[in-house]
Symmetry: D2
Subunit: 279 residues, 4 copies
């Protein structure tokens, strides 16, 4: 039987995202924030300013959007990618965005630093195989009801193809209580950190599905040992075309970062990139 | 808001599979059986004989296989499709097989009567959109932890593209008890039959993950009102390359059909196609 | 290690409920119907008439009610038991009612033929031990999220005490889809029938939590091999003090029985007690 | 409709456990540790020494044990209570222990400072009502698959009776991945802290079911805002009569406390009671 590459111990493994940014054990926390979907230039510019003011290096934003219904907004597509790329060029901010199909890989690769695979595609094995042939970081989100072992096998598909730049993301699993959208499995994060050298980050926004507990979950994620966070923020959450209930405002985001400072410090990890901070 | 086509009442709707076979309300039960994966010509030929002896019209078999690990058998691919097509030509048996990626749609369409979308791809929206452009029956399996509403929305992606030949398949949802591989949600089947005119069939094999309760679950599926069954059978289950624990032997299959006869009759539905029966 | 009594094969085991009624393999189906809670004499009398007209032998009705909130109706208590006993005496109908605490066992034993342990008390081990000392049939409902093995161990507590008159009841397990109140685990029923000689019945009402799929689930339960059903019915469902959404009207109940006739026949089991039928 | 007492805002509410110890918002973290089951005097004495060395004030230990099987060790009963009481008298350590039945309340009240209601009894409403009549702190554990709302209603049963000294305990909910025994729902803790003034603590041991992630989960629990922890420790975990896989050794416990210091500090809460520390 072939050895599982994800389980191979690699001390101090990290995934290099840009020349300045890396994610992994012993690295600064990798904080990614931004809207669910790219909606326009001013939305992205306002978000980027909030990132810079908080010393945050990476922007998320969906151009191709997986939506439950075929009749809702499906994303701005290539135009959205170009808007993201504008931010990337102007502000030295890394861009994380999703691919939903093999056909989109080429164009997304041109405009993004990190390619995200969404929960619904975690076992889209054809897509994973195609991403295994890239030399680009992949952010792989855990499936809605995937076991940790299935999650690691999905990552293995990418590593088996030759691309070892995989970052895992826990985003909540489906459960019975309608009180939260999903249940954030921080025990799962702890288990992953024991099993694999791959970096593991946490998405508190999709786990909660509600704004009021995102700060608490973010603190818990850092304390459990996650290597970073990916958070939904929006200049005007109420006007967000998707996931409005869970997006933080830009002021909320600043408050979140302030709340995380002592926890990051307690864990011995930097939270902000001072070089980036803009007055 | 656009009207949901899956909810539109269409009395006596059915999906025509071949000139002789249809699936839906008021139609004979649509029984599909065959191996998890196509392994060779003799395996398929033996299976086809068992189908014919039982008056069963449709063969399942995977040529492209979604597998948890990248290091296990991934299916025979196009060669497997050609073997399936041989059975189809020689025995007038309809063929059901899976696509995992847009790239495979064309070749699968040439060799199969029904294209299956697996549970892991239920929300692979790019794939669903591409299948919406075909004029070919699609067997859509419910995701591992998909709500019934998400399931219907996934079907809507196909209908929205213009292809209304969608058959839904309940195959068990993930739960906490290791006793069975999944929990077959027959209440879900009953709800689907209330909500949509699309045919609904049941896969007891993946629900159970064990041979000993497949007959009982098949009887229950018919009694709850399902329009058909898709069952894993194999000439030599112990030697099956995948899902060995849940495949029925060909003799088991004959016993299964015998056990189903009175229930089908009680539900007023034919189970077998006499024209097909081979001595 | 002590041998598990629930696993000891006992061919044709049955639980004798009254001189005329038994539940188990090879016995007529044991059908129990009645309101969630006893509300008054006229409610019970009307229900009893519906049972008799359908040849059904056993009445359910709660006198002590486990309620999520302490501020809702907690049952009529001993007065409710006396009302049940009236029906029992006047109509030769067996009575099934719940105990919630050891203190209630004595009085419930005087008025009921079968003592029910509710889902929330499935692992109330002190209660189970006390019931093990009785010589009275116990209807043990599966916990909301209990594994089948835990369910069998709970029964073992009763058998270990010397009372082997235990009937198991599957009533749905908790899951993620709000479409139904619970998910009826008929695969679990099939597994139980393989593992234990104890009779297994099904409660479609609590599984569904909605009236429209109870008939379909009841058919499926009989087809999977259950030894009986326990169903919520009410002379005026809308006015029911609890579980209004899932109670069948008395006419619905008659229709349910008619729908079950062919399935029971297909399974070779009698559904009605002709001796009981009242014009 | 009666107002829900658990939802009534009570700023700085706390539950007083002994003259020196309280649990709640603005209080020091309430740390409870000890064995799953009381096994003997030397086990408790060694554990107490470990508590004192770490400035921990409260000992857990089961005398009446809810066990899945009736044939496994059911606890030392009253003898176990007396052993716990010895520790309590000699070391000024508060004792937390479980009641499983109304009959046990009186004797447990005599020997313990806090009465625990286990997960399996969370909706044992008769027991909850009886505890509502006491003037004694109750540690109420969340049911295996209880919603947060059901959890709060269970607490309401106790408050409705007049006892407002209720501490809630999240201990993991049942889910599909065998990797951990349960899934710790820290989002649930955050929601509870928003909804109720009752203190909320976390049991990482039963959530994890494995030793290696308990420290990480404990850090996360404090960071999410829990008011305390209850942890299984044992002088010789391998020899523990129950829950051996999840008990920390006494050295592990010291390491756990050291790991928690910076997180507690980051949250502005004291972790240890200096007055208690024994060289």
């Amino acid at each position: 039987m072939t050895e599982r590459k994800v389980l191979k111990p690699k001390p101090n493994a990290k995934v290099q995202i840009t020349a300045d940014i890396a994610c992994g054990e012993g690295q600064p926390l990798w904080i990614v924030a931004g809207p669910c979907a790219v909606e326009g230039a001013s939305q992205l510019e306002a978000t980027a300013q909030a990132l810079l003011q908080n010393g945050v290096s990476s922007l998320r934003g969906g151009a191709f959007k997986p939506r439950t219904s075929p009749y809702t907004f499906q994303g701005m597509g290539e135009e959205g990618l170009q808007l993201l790329d504008g931010i990337r060029q102007n502000h030295q901010i890394a861009v994380v965005t999703e691919v939903m199909a093999i056909e989109q890989i080429e164009v997304v690769s041109q405009h993004a630093d990190v390619i995200q695979v969404g929960s619904r595609n975690m076992q889209n094995f054809s897509l994973l195989k195609a991403l295994g042939e890239l030399d680009k970081p992949i952010l792989l989100k855990r499936g809605l009801a995937s076991t940790l072992d299935e999650f690691l096998w999905a990552a293995e598909y990418i590593l088996a193809g030759g691309n070892d730049k995989v970052i895992l993301c826990e985003r909540g699993i489906r459960s019975f209580d309608p009180e939260t959208r999903n249940v954030l499995d921080l025990g799962g994060v702890a288990v992953l950190k024991e099993k694999t050298h791959l970096p593991v980050i946490v998405d508190p926004s999709h786990a909660a599905g509600r704004r009021d507990i995102i700060t608490a979950l973010s603190r818990a994620a850092i304390a459990v040992g996650a290597d970073g966070l990916i958070v939904e923020i929006h200049p005007n959450p109420q006007a967000s075309v998707s996931d409005a209930a869970q997006a933080l405002s830009l002021d909320d985001f600043t408050a979140l970062m302030t709340s995380l400072d002592p926890i990051a410090q307690a864990m011995g990890r930097s939270l902000r990139q001072p070089a980036l901070v803009k007055a």
